[in-house]
Amino acid sequence: MTDNTNINKINSYENTRRKEEMKHQVITFVLMIAFTLIAFLVVAAELSRTFVIPFILLLAVVQVGFQFYYFMHMKDKGHEIISSLIFGGIWIAAVTVLTFTTIIWW
């Protein structure tokens, strides 16, 4: 029996932790929608190109960070190998995109 109460305790602790986490995720979501909105508004406002493009790219990167770290839990424990591999992929992705946007057009 003692076993069970223990688990129950843990469970209730876990439950509150999960609720807490869920709250974070809803906030994340609201932020993402807000970011999206800002990005669209900036483009709709037809501001100068040199400002808009880096700005919306930055918003995208932050949004993706939210996705990875909150929705996909990359911030949690047990994700060390995963995040090093994902960052590996991102690094190669970045190098690829960089070359294609620079040296493919002479």
Partner: protein, 618 residues
């Protein structure tokens, strides 16, 4: 699936067993056998090339056929011979080395194998269906988009299939190494072959998607009229070159790193000394992999990317000499002070050091961009990469085969024949490829169907051809050795070399299907050696004898693959007649149907019971 099925099984049963197996050791052997088959095909193609180039203006084969030969030789050797044999060794050995009972995804493992095999069959069917691809293994656009007939289509679909298989294999190995390491097997206690498997798998994971995309674009351009490489519609043919080499350069390290791993196993065992600088070896492997992704444009130095790009890529390329050098010197230091025994496995490994060093050094010479304007697309490059690929990867494969043969097939290869085969092959190898460096500098570009008379290229080419024949003889002796051994060879003990250091030598040869009756407790690097030094003849078990959970065999990987195989034909031939699209639908129906069955039908595997295990002899 029963244990100890000593009674003879019917042919049908054996075949069914191989079609449905998910056992990593069987799959490993199947990879090796299929890879060897493709190696012989690629080798025969190489011979045809060398015969054609035996004398100036030879007309042994036609120009078109020559281009098909080189394309098929390169593609077959890289994708269907060297890589599968390495994957086979990884499959068979790596789980044993980390003390695992299987890989993480036995089902996917089998799927990966079948995709590779059918990809290879697909590619080679092109010989019989109107002509093989003829745009080089690099399939540069727009030559490849304009190539008439279906040859290049077979190249695209064949590589797409096998590429998917390889990707699956890579992910499987990664997960296996992360989660399935046995008790006590920390990362820094993993044998080097496991490490190189791990890192080569990372390379596979990140390199193959670029090829996948490139092949898709090529497929769309050739089969569905898109305009990626069609200059008239704004396309750009350089995109293909980038995508191909973003894949292609890491690919050459996918070929060499596992071979490095094999040598790192063999040198310690036959020097009776632990690997010198273990952690720097791991680090160097990571460095090679990391840098390997940032140098691909060294294949494109003459494309006209501009001096900035050329300089960056040239210098980055040269940097790879540093970690590779660390490895070479660590191997030498491993042997220094050791007690070296030379047998066939060791001969191949020893021959690797000078051969690969030459190849690596010509690689660094190629990286000096200014000089590469001369070397590029000449026989100098052919010389370079055969030195690293044959002298590195192929020597590694042969060393690994001799070394692990007893573990894979239960018998030790014949030493005498092994040595004769080695010497003939080794001499032939240097004869063939050493002169090619000079041929290149004397003005012989690669992919030349004929070279003209009176250009001073005759002697060199003849020498090269003679060497190729010596390599053939060497290979044939090796094959005879295999046949002889499997008939006459003696059964091998668990540790036939006597100085085995890693876990695979702690289980019988060949190992039982569950690998370890009780998972062993690993107490350090070279786990088995440690036990031996402590006077134990066995590993200490980490668990009591319990039921062993085993995955079920399945025919679905084969049916899935056949589905994709059929669909590929549909894609290829719908260009001629839209009704071939039916095959696409049929093929996908079969493949998706198999997937559906797989996901709907629960597969919990089965257990080998404790009682049965107890009855088994050790």
């Amino acid at each position: 699936m029963s244990l100890a099925s000593t009674q003879k099984k019917s042919f049908g049963a054996v075949l069914w067993d191989y079609l449905t197996t998910v056992d990593h050791k069987k799959l490993g052997n199947m990879y090796i056998v299929a890879g060897a088959f493709f190696f012989i095909l690629g080798g025969i193609e190489a011979l045809v090339i060398r015969i054609q180039l035996m004398k100036p203006e030879n007309d042994f084969i036609s120009a078109g056929l020559y281009n098909e030969m080189i394309t098929m030789h390169g593609t077959t050797m890289i994708f269907f011979a060297a890589m599968p044999i390495l994957l086979g060794l990884m499959n068979a050995i790596m789980p044993l080395q980390i003390g695992a009972r299987d890989v993480a995804f036995p089902f996917l493992n089998s799927l990966g194998f079948w995709l590779f095999l059918f990809g290879g069959i697909m590619l080679n069917l092109s010989w019989f269906l109107g002509g093989a691809p003829d745009a080089g293994w690099t399939a540069y656009t727009p030559l490849s988009t304009q190539s008439p007939g279906h040859g290049v289509d077979f190249y695209v679909m064949g590589l797409q299939l096998s590429g998917a298989g390889t990707l699956i294999g890579g992910i499987n190995f990664l997960v296996t190494i992360v989660t399935m390491r046995g008790p006590g097997m920390t990362y820094m206690r993993m044998p080097l072959f496991t490490w190189t498997t791990f890192i080569a798998s990372i390379l596979i994971l990140f390199a193959f998607p670029a090829l996948t995309v490139g092949l898709f674009l090529l497929m769309f351009d050739r089969m569905f009229g898109s305009a990626f490489f069609d200059v008239a519609l704004g396309g750009n043919s350089i995109i293909w070159q980038h995508l191909f080499w973003i894949f292609g350069h890491p690919e050459v390290y996918i070929l060499i790193l596992p071979a490095f791993g094999i040598f790192s196993e063999i040198f310690p065992v036959f020097s009776k000394k632990r690997l010198f600088g273990y952690s720097s070896m791991v680090f160097a492997t990571f460095m090679i992999a990391f840098l390997g992704f940032m140098v691909w444009a060294h294949h494109m130095l003459t494309v006209g990317l501009g001096p900035v790009a050329n300089s960056i890529f040239a210098v980055a390329t040269m940097a790879i000499a540093v970690p590779t050098g660390i490895k070479i010197f660590n191997w030498l230091a491993t042997m220094w002070g050791g007690s070296i025994r030379i047998n066939s496995a060791m001969l191949w490994s020893l021959a690797f050091i000078p051969s690969f060093t030459i190849g690596g050094m010509t690689g660094v010479m190629l990286a000096t961009a200014t000089a590469d304007y001369q070397y590029h697309d000449t026989y100098f490059v052919i010389g370079h990469f055969h030195y690293v690929i044959v002298g590195g990867t192929l020597f590694g494969i042969l060393a690994g085969l001799h070394y692990w043969w007893p573990k894979l097939f239960g018998k030790v290869l014949h030493e005498g024949m092994g040595k004769i085969a080695f010497w003939i092959f080794f001499i032939g190898f240097h004869l063939t490829f050493f002169v090619q460096h000079f041929l290149g500098l004397m003005g012989m570009p690669r992919r030349y169907w004929v070279f003209l008379e009176n250009q001073g290229l005759d002697t060199g080419n003849l020498v090269s051809t003679i060497g190729a024949f010596l390599m053939t003889i060497g290979t044939i002796i090796f094959i005879i050795n295999i046949v002889y051994t499997s008939i006459k060879g003696e059964k091998a003990s668990a540790d036939p070399w006597g100085t085995g250091r890693t876990l695979e030598w702690a289980v019988s040869s060949p190992p039982p299907e569950y690998n370890f009756k009780k998972l062993p407790l690993v107490r350090g690097l070279d786990a088995y050696w440690i036990e031996k030094m402590d006077g134990n003849d066995k590993m200490t078990p980490a668990e009591p004898l319990v039921d062993i959970h085993m995955p079920n065999g399945s025919i679905l990987p084969v049916t899935m693959t056949i589905g994709f195989f059929i669909a590929s034909f549909g894609f290829i031939y719908q260009v001629d007649n839209k009704s071939w699209l039916a095959l696409v639908f049929i093929g996908f129906a079969i493949a998706l149907g198999s997937m559906l069955i797989r996901s709907l039908k629960d597969d919990h595997g089965y257990h080998i019971h404790k009682e049965d295990l107890e009855r088994e002899a050790d």
